[in-house]
């Protein structure tokens, strides 16, 4: 009996733990609840009572105010989508390929290449942004989404992630038997190794997508024309003069910029949490 009690733990401690966890959960959700609910309320209602848990009926009015200015949510959405999908595809494919080179073949510079990847993984892109900008300017790629997509071929932290996964789950015997069956190396990678890597590619794909979608620094340097701006760059317009005191429209705009992320998150949260636990997530 006493043993059972110990397993259950102290009820006061347990109550305290749940209390703190519930407070933290409310803290995580509350700002977004205010945002979504206020996007349905009129500016007048918000000015009377800024917090309400009851949605109102002014979503369409807010939409009209929101889209009536120079903010074009469709353009921002499409630009973000192009960049995020393009960068994710390149990162996932080429990082898997590079990891495959590191795991499936023994070559002289393999160890050196891996150490090198570990070192450059840490360098934040902010500190080399000026050189990157001038280089892009010289080759006329500023205000071009390709400048944000092509560099995704080089993603050292993804290579690291795939290498760890491959060491654990890619049987090299399988590659040998494919060779004996006459499969060429590139074909073996695409048709035998890649399917085995699918779970890891999905996890890394989600993180690359979210990271690219959210990125602000590089796009705000490279994209100055409105028609190529991505969602996070456009968000600053919500704070500017054009929506001064149009709170309903501001909340609606914010809600729209993050809505795709909520959809992705709640559909895939199981994989995302598992992916974070595996490490190697930070862009």
């Amino acid at each position: 009996m006493s043993k059972l009690e110990r397993r259950d733990g102290n009820p006061v401690v347990k109550f305290f733990i749940y209390f703190v966890c519930i407070i933290l959960a409310v803290l995580s959700i509350f700002p977004f609840v205010v945002m979504f609910i206020n996007s349905t309320r009129s500016t007048f209602e918000i000015q009377q009572h800024a917090v309400s848990l009851i949605p109102s009926s002014h979503l369409l009015d807010n939409w009209k105010v929101f889209t009536g200015k120079s903010f074009n949510p469709t353009t921002g959405f499409l630009n973000s989508l192009i960049v995020a999908v393009g960068a994710t595809a390149l990162t996932v494919y080429f990082s898997t390929l590079t990891a495959y080179a590191l795991v499936a073949y023994s070559w002289k510079l393999r160890g050196a290449m891996f150490t090198f990847i570990l070192c450059v993984m840490m360098i934040p892109s902010q500190v080399t942004a000026i050189g990157f900008y001038q280089f892009m300017y010289r080759i006329h790629l500023t205000n071009n989404l390709l400048a944000l997509i092509l560099p995704a071929i080089y993603a050292p932290s993804s290579v690291f992630f795939f290498r760890q996964f491959m060491l654990a789950s890619l049987p090299l015997e399988l590659l040998d038997s494919a060779r004996i069956d006459g499969s060429r190396e590139f074909h073996t990678f695409n048709h035998i190794a890649m399917p085995i890597m699918k779970p890891a590619m999905a996890t890394q794909g989600i993180f690359t997508f979210v990271y690219t979608w959210n990125n602000l620094f590089m796009p705000s340097i490279l994209l100055t024309r409105d028609e190529v701006k991505t969602m996070p760059v456009m968000v600053s317009m919500l704070k500017g003069d054009i929506y001064k005191r149009e709170y309903g429209a501001i909340y609606l705009g914010l809600a729209l910029t993050v809505l795709p992320l909520f959809v992705v998150y709640f559909a895939l949260s199981k994989y995302i949490i598992a992916g974070v636990a595996l490490g190697g997530v930070k862009g």
């Binding site: 023994s106 840490m122 902010q126 910029t257 998150y265 974070v276 930070k282």
Partner: protein
Amino acid sequence: MNNTLQKKHGFSYAKYGYLFSLPFFIAFLVFNLYPTLYTVVLGFTDSKGLGNITFHILKDDPWKNFRTVLKAPTFILSIKNTLMLWMMNFIPQITLALILTAWFTSRRNKVRGQGFFKVVFYMPNIITAASVAVLFNTLFGYPKGPVNDLLVSAGLRDGAFNFMNSPTATRWIIAFIQFWMWYGYTMIVLISGVLGINPEIYEAAEIDGANDRQIFFRITLPNLRTILTYTLVTSLIGGLSMYDIPKMLNAGNPNNSTLTATMFIYNQSFQNSYMYARGAAASMILFLIIAVLSAIVFYLMRDRK
């Protein structure tokens, strides 16, 4: 296995190793190494002006930009702000993450609903930081904003408080947002670290009659050393290149009290006079600071055994 097969066929597969890592390496040379060297060189030039890509190396006084930047009070302030903001968020963040880790992995107190709590605590991390910052700017609005509304109706304040006009309040709001976005991530990483520790060690400790506190400090914490180092270094690098939240929350105001180092670099290079050379020099100084501090962390956290 691989090696033996290679010998048997008298054919080397090594070239595929080089071939398949080639795209990665080329992309590194073009999109990373070249821009990095370019930035280094720009630091020693007179490069400035929007759309002007001609520049001259400062032959007489090559370190001029570095001196100007190091003497600029705004740059020194921005470095101080950045470090302060990072510490104000990281200390509470790692503390809370460790407490939650101890709770969620305790073998005596099984906490139910962990899956739900993990999903909710991690959620703010994947939401666009730019949008989150603007949202908080609106939530802390003056005179009519949700936070002021709650404070006044709860009787905690007589009138609305202008948060965005107070350096202390703005700094704490930024630190809070960073904390709020990252503690869930840190917690999940630490929990997975604890789950990787050999359960036999815990069983032995329980048989020996160790209590929860002793188990946490004597077993869990020492075994998390590598993961804690990783968390500390990645958070430090992320914190020192902090940009999105201070920029979008209050653009470094009031009085540059929330101006960070990357915001300084951005303002030098991409606003007003477009002083690329000065921004490049500041970038290199920031890079050096990051490298030195990371090295210090690795040194302090090394395994002394």
